[in-house]
């Protein structure tokens, strides 16, 4: 089911797809069967599926590696939210920029990130995307147009806005996408970036992944609104809501916003209602006091990958076997990458003072 959205004129009320609300997920989980009307090509569908499976496998394995003591520091897993990254990134090339969050692996995988330098980075090795200096919270790839995960909640949007300014300045057709959470929407940085993007009509898409929580604080306890997209009108940009568990809904909503941005139509605030399966940080999921196990189970029933795979089969795009083959290949990729990371050297102490400044040869 595709999202309803609206390239709204200023102040037009936000329009919503029949997206499940975090708190009423069970009630609204019933969905119409998938149709394929002037929708994405089979190729696109397969690519999005692959992206989602790659994210899921990467994250599940990263979680294990953390438990095995292979990954130090804080690990924020993206599991549950795969449809958002996959659906948005499907529209982007390496020339388009994104800024990510502390929960950034999924975005990088969807943007084309390779497992080897990703695991190597998480393991703190010299072969990582950031030579081991950044880790999970700063993983990035300039070559892929990925301006970094960010340890600062709300850190990304002003940077994405700046990248969009850059694109407009150079008069190219590239866009930038700022991913941020429901919790982050309360940071002043997001407000300032959104206002500036709307003022300058920048090719910048603000994708709010509303997973219902900022750490251990539910949305109802961090803001007095239900839809973050309601804030769009206050900036003079369209606000769109879509089902963030449905990659096709995300694909369609993001496609429209990105298309508009590429054609000089300015920014959009796209809110994707989604959910994270594991704890805020680390792998523990169930049995915690800030959300119920029932809520988790209810969301898992709408799992982005499972649901999509059923649909792909219904639509005749992929067979069960082909789907299994994807999982097998991805699992092998993950295994190889972990081995690679494991065998990679740690950065030598002499590298510590490198890359602080950009001087000749530094």
């Amino acid at each position: 089911m595709a999202a309803k959205k609206k390239p709204a004129a200023k102040k037009s009320p936000v329009k919503k797809a029949a997206a499940p609300k975090a708190k009423t997920a069970v009630a609204k989980a019933k969905k119409a069967p998938a149709r394929k009307v002037k929708g994405p090509s089979d190729k696109v569908l397969k690519e999005m599926h692959l992206k989602m499976v790659r994210i899921r496998r990467f994250e599940e394995s990263a979680g294990k590696m953390m438990e095995d003591g292979k990954i130090p520091g804080a690990l924020h897993l993206y599991v549950g939210q795969e449809a958002v990254a996959a659906g948005v990134m499907q529209h982007l090339s390496n020339q388009d920029w994104i800024t990510s969050t502390h929960r950034g692996h999924g975005h990088l995988v969807a943007k084309g990130g390779e497992f080897k330098p990703m695991f190597a980075e998480l393991f703190g090795r010299a072969t990582g995307y950031c030579k081991g200096k950044g880790g999970s919270m700063h993983i990035s790839s300039m070559d892929l147009g990925m301006l970094g995960a960010n340890g600062i909640v709300g850190g990304g949007p002003p940077i994405a806005m700046g990248a969009a300014f850059s694109n407009k300045f150079r008069k190219n057709k590239n866009v930038s996408v700022a991913f941020f959470g429901d919790g982050a929407s309360n940071e002043g940085s997001v407000h300032e970036a959104a206002n500036m993007a709307a003022l300058y009509k920048l090719p910048c898409i603000f994708v709010c992944e509303n997973n219902g929580y900022g750490e251990y604080t539910s949305q109802a306890r961090h803001q007095a609104i239900v839809d973050v997209a309601d804030r769009a009108a206050g900036y003079g940009m369209p606000g769109v809501i879509c089902d963030g568990m449905d990659v096709m809904a995300v694909y369609e909503a993001a496609g429209e916003a990105i298309e508009r941005a590429r054609n000089g139509g300015g920014p959009t605030l796209l809110e994707c209602k989604t959910y994270r399966y594991y704890d805020h940080v680390g792998v523990r999921g169930m049995g915690l006091n800030y959300r119920t196990d029932e809520e988790i189970e209810a969301w898992k029933k709408k799992d982005a990958i499972e649901g999509f795979e059923k649909r792909l089969m219904q639509l005749g795009v992929m067979t069960q076997k082909q789907i299994e083959a994807v999982h097998t290949t991805v699992a092998k990729d993950v295994e190889e990458a972990i081995e690679y990371a494991n065998e990679s050297p740690y950065p030598g102490p002499e590298t510590l003072l490198e890359n602080v400044y950009n001087e000749k040869g530094a």
Partner: protein, 333 residues
């Protein structure tokens, strides 16, 4: 209660000493509350607010949105109007998000108003590296705060001081930052039950010595103590001073020590350049120049952001070994 009259003590980790400090304050001050990200339902991400919501209820233990400017503004506005807020800033690194509220409002309001406003607000925050939390979750930025007239800044090195300084800070009628250290959370020691104060602005001689004075604060005190132990084996008898507060800074205790030892080493976790060690060094040589047999040396982090990889972080953070190496240099051994 004076520091001398210590009540019943038990072994307590630093994290629970923080908890007790906050708890004592909320018990004794009806105008006090604690507000911050995930302090209530989750009991803080470090666990030091565990049980507070149950004991004091949601009016006094307040979860906030992720809005550091708002949170710090809450502390300014509420303290100026009769409350005694405890504001929790989860990581010291996030101070960039609310530096205006800290520096231009909280620290200056009293002065700008000609002394007519009083801001009894305490900010708890967590500094320090060591857990591979990388460049934005590991910083030691006390130098920024100590440079701010109107602000007090203390950095308790152990559980006893953490509890006592939180209580002192909250009883103080000025804005006070209590900078905690995340790598110390599990360190245990005897901590008295009930309320007690550790005075702000007073250093503490942790170890008597005659050959040189090591000045440290926060977690570095333990590295300094470990270094001193090892130095003993080399026949070097180091005096270790825990500065405890960096604003105001207890220059007298440090200078008196150096008049005895004639040599000094200043240690901190922050990067050396522009760190508070420069200030301490400058003060030492201003006040004890004629007593110094060697330059005051500093051991601090090198000039880079905090690296993620444990392989790098390990060489980044000052420790007993790097202190010993510098002592040898100072003593020209």
């Amino acid at each position: 209660m004076s520091e001398a009259a210590k009540p019943q003590a038990r072994e307590l980790p630093y994290v629970m000493a923080i908890n007790e400090g906050i708890r004592e304050v909320l018990r004794e001050q009806q105008d006090a509350f604690i507000a911050g990200e995930d302090v209530a339902v989750a009991g803080s991400v470090y666990g030091y607010c565990t049980g507070l919501l149950d004991e004091f209820g949601p009016d006094r233990v307040v979860d906030t949105p992720i809005s550091e400017k708002g949170i710090m503004g809450l502390g300014v506005g509420a303290s100026a109007t009769g409350c005694r807020p405890i504001i929790d800033l989860m990581f010291m690194d996030f101070i960039g998000e609310c530096m205006d509220e800290v520096a231009n409002q909280m620290a200056k309001m009293r002065f700008m108003f000609g002394g007519k406003a009083t801001l009894p607000v305490t900010v708890l925050t967590m500094g320090g590296a060591g857990g591979s939390l990388a460049a934005q979750h590991s910083q030691s930025l006390e130098a920024w705060l100590a440079h701010l007239p109107g602000m007090k800044v203390c950095m308790p090195s152990d559980a006893y001081d953490a509890k006592g300084m939180i209580i002192s800070a909250c009883r103080d009628d000025n804005p006070v930052f209590v900078v905690l250290n995340k790598a110390s959370l599990a360190m245990t020691m005897e901590v008295p039950e009930g309320p007690y104060e550790v005075p702000l602005g007073e250093a503490c001689v942790r170890r008597q010595g005659t050959n040189l004075t090591i000045v440290a604060f926060g977690r570095m005190v333990h590295e300094a103590m470990a270094a001193a132990d090892k130095l003993k084996d080399l026949g070097i008898d180091a005096e270790v001073i825990d500065a405890r507060s960096v604003q105001p800074f207890d220059t007298a205790t440090v200078v008196n020590s150096i008049k005895k030892t004639h040599r000094a080493l200043v240690i901190h976790e922050a990067v050396k350049f522009g760190g508070i060690g420069g200030e301490i060094t400058a003060q030492i040589q201003e006040e004890a120049f004629d007593y110094l047999d060697a330059p005051v040396m500093r051991v601090a982090a090198p000039f880079s952001p905090v690296p993620f990889s444990p392989a790098l972080e390990q060489v980044y953070i000052p420790n007993a070994e790097s202190i010993i190496a510098k002592v040898k240099e100072t003593l020209e051994l």
